[in-house]
């Protein structure tokens, strides 16, 4: 048991993956000597060599496209996209090749590729360094999309993503890289729950709040605040966005009758839209209020001095909870 940050937990998870399977390769920009701009790959090139921890040319399509070829050759590439806003040059290779190759080949050429993307805002960065593009990938059949919210999940889920025979877009909530928690690095993966199930991280009876990645901490803080007014929020960490574990959310909503979905991405066609549509279909008679969504606005991510106004925070979550209760 050691107290580690999420960044260090992911680093440990990558290390284990490299140790346990010599087909695992890391590729990306500045992941070698530098250890990545967030030091998530710190020390890995030194320990596993330049042929397994590969500093790539500055070209995201090239990184993902060569990963496809490496996968065809039997490798398990784990590629790092330096920031959320830089994944788009690789979009064609991801949606056209990575997502579809297993189906196209009737299962003959699997794509066990993990695409790691630090995402989300709240770190005062310049443009393109604070975006939340997860919905683009979740809308794409063939891809799995995960986002851990805490160091332990990050440690376990990154290994589960790499071990998964399907391609996984792994969204790391960069503003939580420095969050600390106890992580048992000797934990046995097999004993861990599937990453494709959501988790109730705080039970409550008044309103269900579903969230993932960076917003889980925000929602837990909101729940603490709400409790002081006697409102008990049931907070669910979705953990994975594709597939979306609607059953866990539905079970909760059948008890609470109310659901608020929270994410940083723009609300319009964001993950909240899908969850709202499905939960309404599954829990039509149980719902006492429409599913309410809290998220980014329909604007480009604003200059950092305005990001606190753009990002969902404790107050906006509580405001939505109030509105849900008022119905």
């Amino acid at each position: 048991m050691a107290v580690t940050t999420m960044a260090k937990a992911i680093n440990a998870g990558l290390r284990k993956a490299l140790e346990n399977d010599d087909k695992v390769l890391l590729m990306g920009e500045d992941i070698g000597k530098l250890g990545g701009v967030f030091r998530v790959t710190d020390g890995l090139q030194k320990d596993f060599g330049e042929s397994r921890v590969i500093d790539s040319p500055l070209a995201e399509s090239g990184i993902v496209g060569t990963a496809v070829g490496l996968a065809m050759r039997g490798f398990r590439p784990v590629v790092e996209i330096q920031f959320d806003g830089f994944v788009f040059p690789a979009f064609d290779q991801i949606v056209t090749q990575v997502a579809k190759h297993n189906a196209r080949s009737a299962g003959r050429t699997p794509m066990p590729i993990t695409i790691r993307i630090p995402y989300g805002g709240g770190i005062g960065a310049v443009e393109h360094h604070s975006e939340s593009p997860e919905a683009y990938f979740a809308h794409t059949p063939g891809l799995r999309v995960m986002s851990p919210s805490n160091p332990l999940d990050a440690f376990v889920m990154v290994q589960q993503a790499i071990a998964c025979d399907d391609p996984v877009v792994f969204f790391e909530p960069k503003r939580r890289y420095w969050d600390k928690a106890e992580v048992d690095l000797s934990i046995d993966l097999a004993s861990m729950p599937t990453p494709f199930a959501a988790r109730v991280v705080r039970p409550g009876s008044s309103v269900t709040v579903a969230c993932y990645g960076p917003m889980v901490r925000t929602c837990l803080e909101a729940a603490t605040a709400a409790a002081q007014d006697g409102v008990e929020l049931e907070v669910i960490d979705l953990r994975t966005i594709s597939p979306l574990d609607v059953d866990t959310v539905a079970a909760s909503v059948r008890r609470t009758g109310r659901l608020v979905v929270v994410h940083e991405a723009s609300v319009f066609l964001g993950v909240g839209a899908e969850l709202a549509a499905r939960i309404t279909e599954l829990c039509f008679y149980a719902l006492e209020a429409p599913v309410l969504r809290v998220g980014g606005y329909h604007t480009p991510y604003p200059p950092s001095r305005l990001e606190e106004d753009y990002l969902p925070d404790l107050d906006r979550v509580l405001d939505a909870v109030d509105r849900a209760m008022a119905f």
Binding site: P57, G65, A67, L70, T96, R104, S105, G142, L244, D247
Partner: protein, 360 residues
């Protein structure tokens, strides 16, 4: 740009069927091997013609003809060793033939019964790639894998003249050069990207692109199966020996339409076609074989007959190709359990069962 390929064009067999020599490249083939190449060329052309006919008859939704590019494909395909791996576009039917992919397996995609059709690993021949350029990066990645697992083989990436404008193809050049990957970039410059002439993609010969990335580029007569074989063999050998990538520009011509849905009369003049007919890849080898006394009328007739038999079988097998089961579309989206796909498959089956049950 010179229509005849210019002085840099590597040639071992002239359009008139005359065997010429080149200071750097040569092949030493037995009459048997030469006849084998001739047979490949004829059978591949016949398969292509049959597939075109099958499209006209409504058996295929589309077909991308290779007419005119037989030598570029057979020559490069026969240069490959079993453990080499090839990444085709959608037109490499001749290369597929050299990798022992059944002609019938090529038709599935165009008939719409599959988006793939064969086992890439069984034949060391990747699935056809329709999105222009994507496969060049896959080839480089595969070659990086070969470097890492100590494989013996080299990799070859096929693409067209139009594809050279795509970012992905140029990124493939960058990665291959930087990692010195054992890959051959084989560009079939058939002068056209659908309706756009070469001038819309480049203002200098394409083989020169390689120099800008720091590896050798050569232009070979793409209608000369001997020259293509020689040049591709050398490039593959260099790759295997750790000398990294080579760009081979096979200078050829798309004798047919881009695909069966295309109408070239809208954008190119018949005269060009006539000029290129004189450089036909099959005719020149036939003349050479005959003149050298290595093949006679009976031999040629025998090949024609074999081609005819192949075509008849292909036609019948194509018509017999069954449609896939509707639920198969859910089968390989994911390898591991995925709740949404499972639910949709169940709904789908229940919905269709309801018709069977006559509910609707």
């Amino acid at each position: 740009m010179t229509a005849d390929g210019g002085p840099e064009l590597i040639q071992l067999l002239t359009p008139e069927g005359e065997r010429v020599h080149h200071p750097e490249y040569d092949v030493d083939l037995t009459p048997d091997e030469l006849r084998g190449l001739y047979r490949d060329l004829v059978l591949v052309r016949r398969v292509d013609a049959e597939a075109t006919a099958l499209q006209r008859q409504g058996e295929l939704g589309l077909w991308a003809q290779l007419l005119g590019q037989e030598a570029a494909q057979v020559g490069s395909g026969r240069a490959l060793r079993p453990d080499d791996f090839a990444f085709p576009t959608y037109r490499e039917h001749g290369v597929a033939w050299t990798r022992d992919v059944e002609p019938l397996q090529l038709l599935g995609l165009f008939r719409g019964v599959t988006n793939g059709g064969w086992d890439p690993h069984e034949r060391n021949f990747a699935l056809y790639t329709i999105v222009i350029g994507d496969q060049c990066l896959h080839a480089v990645g595969y070659a990086m894998g070969v470097q890492r697992d100590g494989g013996e083989g080299a990799v070859i990436a096929y693409f067209g003249d139009g594809a050279t404008s795509q970012g992905d193809v140029n990124e493939a050049f960058v990665f291959a050069a930087v990692y010195n990957a054992p890959v051959v970039f084989f560009c079939q410059n058939n002068q056209w990207a659908i309706s756009e002439p070469l001038e819309r993609q480049t203002r200098i010969p394409l083989y020169k692109r390689a120099a800008g990335f720091g590896f050798p580029g050569v232009r070979v007569d793409g209608n000369d199966v001997l020259a293509v074989l020689a040049v591709t063999r050398a490039a593959l050998a260099a790759a295997r020996e750790g000398q990294g990538p080579t760009l081979v520009e096979a200078f050829t011509y798309r004798m047919g339409a881009h695909t069966t849905s295309d109408d070239p009369s809208r954008y190119r003049v018949a005269a060009d076609l006539e000029a290129w007919k004189l450089k036909d890849p099959i005719e020149r080898l036939k003349v050479y074989l005959a003149r050298s006394g290595w093949a006679d009328h009976d031999y040629f007739a025998g090949i024609e007959a074999e081609a005819e038999t192949l075509a008849v079988a292909l036609r019948e097998d194509c018509r017999a190709l069954p449609d896939p089961a509707p639920t198969s579309m859910f089968d390989h989206v994911y390898r591991e359990q995925h709740a949404l796909v499972d639910a949709e498959r169940a709904e789908f089956s229940a919905y269709h069962a309801s018709f069977a049950g006559g509910e609707h």
